[in-house]
Amino acid sequence: MNDQLRAIADLDRVIHEPGRLMIVALLSAVKECDFLYLLNETQLNKGNLSSHLARLEEAGYVEIQKTYRGKTPQTLVRLTRSGRAGFEQYRKGILEACLKQKAP
């Protein structure tokens, strides 16, 4: 296995999935946001977004809080500390893999 493949193989599989990567990338730039915002920005459907969030919650990367805004239910999502660390690690890994690809 060459260096680039090894670098890709070492990436966090939970974050590496494109749908979850979009969610984590969006959450990394904010304190918290709601389900509707993620739905609009990722263009996933409700079911897919829910299952991705459940997977991320299971891995301890996001925290989900169900509240009410007036009479409307609101689902708030935020990245946990380990989620942020995981994303930073993932970014470094991707960068490393790209650099190894460019290197002769």
Partner: protein, 346 residues
Amino acid sequence: MKNDSPPSSADILQYTLRPHQYINVDGSGEIGWGLMCACFGISSYVTLLAPSPTVWWHGVQWLFFVCGALGPLLAPKIIKRLLTFPRTGYVAYQNGKAFWLTMGASAVIAAVTSVWVSRHVTSAMRRATVARPASVAPAVGVTPGQVIALIVLICLTAGVFVIYFVGRARQKGRRAGGAAESPPSVAAVLMKWGQELGALQFWLCGGKLQRRTTTSVKILILFYGIILLLAAPILGLIYLSELVAHPGAASFTRMEILALFVPCNAILYLMMAASGLKEHAWKLPWCGLLVFGSLAVGVFLPANFIGASRPLMLFLGMVWLGSGLATLFSYLRRAPGPRAAEASLA
């Protein structure tokens, strides 16, 4: 990000920058700033045009003043709460160390500027009450040599700034290979600056900048650099027009305030518009209107700078409000309300 290809750093970066484009998606920042300028202008006019100095007129004046002071704080919050969040979702930005440091630094700069401006205003008002005809002698004992020296100094600073950034862009191009030989086009440099100004606004709102985009220090230098860059030709232009319009009565205070006030507004406008320039291409000529319109109002009105500030504030307020309302209208057309969305799903 497509499912069939591995994500690149650029893809990830694009998604981390999406929340910053969301800050002004509804034009709420522009509406807030426009309200402030318009209310201050109207408040000033109420004082001037009130038939008699009664308590009632003072109340009206203070009402506009308070609306102006609270406008930039409350208007965006109200718009977001009532219109944006129910339509396209709620976002809370982080208030990290960088945010509080910026707020502290801004408070210090604001305090120093206020003291400096108020000293100028007080001395100018004293001179005005001494009943000296405005067209007889210079309002401030400024010689043409001093003004030219100041313009040269600002131009030199701005020149160094431009050479540094264009040089860096070319260096990056050489490193990346490809189009290394040709210098970056003016449009490309402007686009990059626009992006960085958008990043500055994001950072000021408490967003976390990624290391790959730009550093906080660099964007602050960029911010003040562009103000200086714009201030130099504006100061020159105002000086020349003052020589023509009011020979022998060039007011240095008026020139200084206009030369700083106009670029500050232009930069703020570009900061807010930068993230949505692709969708709202009309904002670039609108920025031109803001700059040249306020210069025309400030320069060609025969009044001292206090008299000129009234129509100037009103004009700026109208321009900001117009832009903000147009953005809000376009956002409301694009994003259906929660009830409309539910109806379409049903």
